[in-house]
């Protein structure tokens, strides 16, 4: 098992006011969670995620009641994809369903399958489904 890198700088281009604009964007790390890759091969990625209890975000989400933001779950799946495809640019969160809240002491298992141009992430805690996340990435950045 290897710790997933935090990502790489990526080139991002878009069209604005009649001109092509290109910038370099840094690794996307909204969270400081530890993400370990079990494996990334073929069309499957499996990672284990430990939320970071010391993440300053919990002072504000929420005071006296630290709760993992739902968008962090999306980021965990996204970062597991980035570990396997460092240059990927997220184009769409196609869908996401949250099935249970997650305790800060839980270990999450993220299993991602690439199918039909989409990355389908299943997040479980102790074998129980916690979230389903469907992501689409820009072509040509994988």
């Amino acid at each position: 098992m290897v710790r997933a890198p935090a990502g790489v700088w990526r080139r991002y281009s878009w069209y604005r006011h009649g001109q092509d604009v290109t910038i370099l964007i840094p690794p996307e790390c909204a969270t400081s969670a530890r993400i370990d890759l079990d494996h990334a091969s073929g069309d499957e990625i499996v990672a284990r995620v430990r939320p970071d209890r010391d993440d300053p975000v919990f002072a504000g989400h929420y005071p006296g009641f630290p709760l993992l933001p739902g968008v962090y779950i999306v980021e965990y799946v996204h970062r597991a994809v980035l570990a396997a495809m460092p240059s990927a640019i997220l184009a769409e969160l196609v869908s996401c369903r949250f099935l249970r809240t997650i305790d800060l002491d839980d270990e999450l298992v993220v299993t991602i399958r690439y199918d039909g141009g989409l990355h389908r992430g299943a997040v479980t805690v102790s074998g129980a489904p916690a979230a389903e996340v469907l992501l689409r990435y820009q072509e040509g950045h994988g």
Binding site: A30, S95, L99
Partner: protein, 154 residues
């Protein structure tokens, strides 16, 4: 118009996770325009752009029923996202404007959609977000009581 202090009286999010600075227009039970300025050294991660938009949506849903304290007023939780399309990153120093439209409100479950823009550029489209409020005591340990299974038509 609502400033950051007003917003803190309406929703329970606090720094560093309070990601709405201003509400410029609010039409009760219909729509809202809110904004957030990226102050850090890095572009705003996509998921935090979505979080920021969701907080603006919560202001629209709860402006007439303030919920500054999750232990007393309930906990806002996300149930589902659909069709969240991301454009170019929002860069340090830029102000992103959130446009939120309330589709439907069923008890404490809200269905909202909209977009975020920087100037004239759309940086995120939100097909649908489903959010709910649950009592704090009901969330630990917690199964989300079917929030993501609530249908608009019910």
């Amino acid at each position: 118009m609502l400033d950051r202090d007003d917003i803190r009286r309406l929703i329970p999010h606090r720094p560093p996770m309070l990601l709405v600075d201003r509400v410029g227009e609010l039409v009760p039970r219909r729509r809202l325009l809110g904004s957030y300025t990226v102050t850090g050294p890095r572009p705003l991660p996509a998921v935090l752009l979505l979080e920021s938009w969701g907080q603006a949506a919560l202001v629209l849903i709860r402006h007439d029923r303030p919920m500054p304290d999750v232990l007393a007023d309930g906990v806002p939780i996300a149930g589902a996202f659909e069709g969240i399309r991301f454009g170019r990153p929002v860069l340090p120093g830029e102000t992103v404007e959130h446009r939120v439209e309330l589709i439907r409100l069923i008890a404490d479950t809200g269905f909202v959609r909209g977009e975020s823009v920087v100037g004239t550029e759309v940086v995120m489209q939100v097909g649908r977000l489903v959010g709910a409020v649950r009592p704090a005591a009901a969330l630990r340990p917690a199964v989300l009581a079917g929030v993501s299974d609530v249908k608009e038509s019910t």
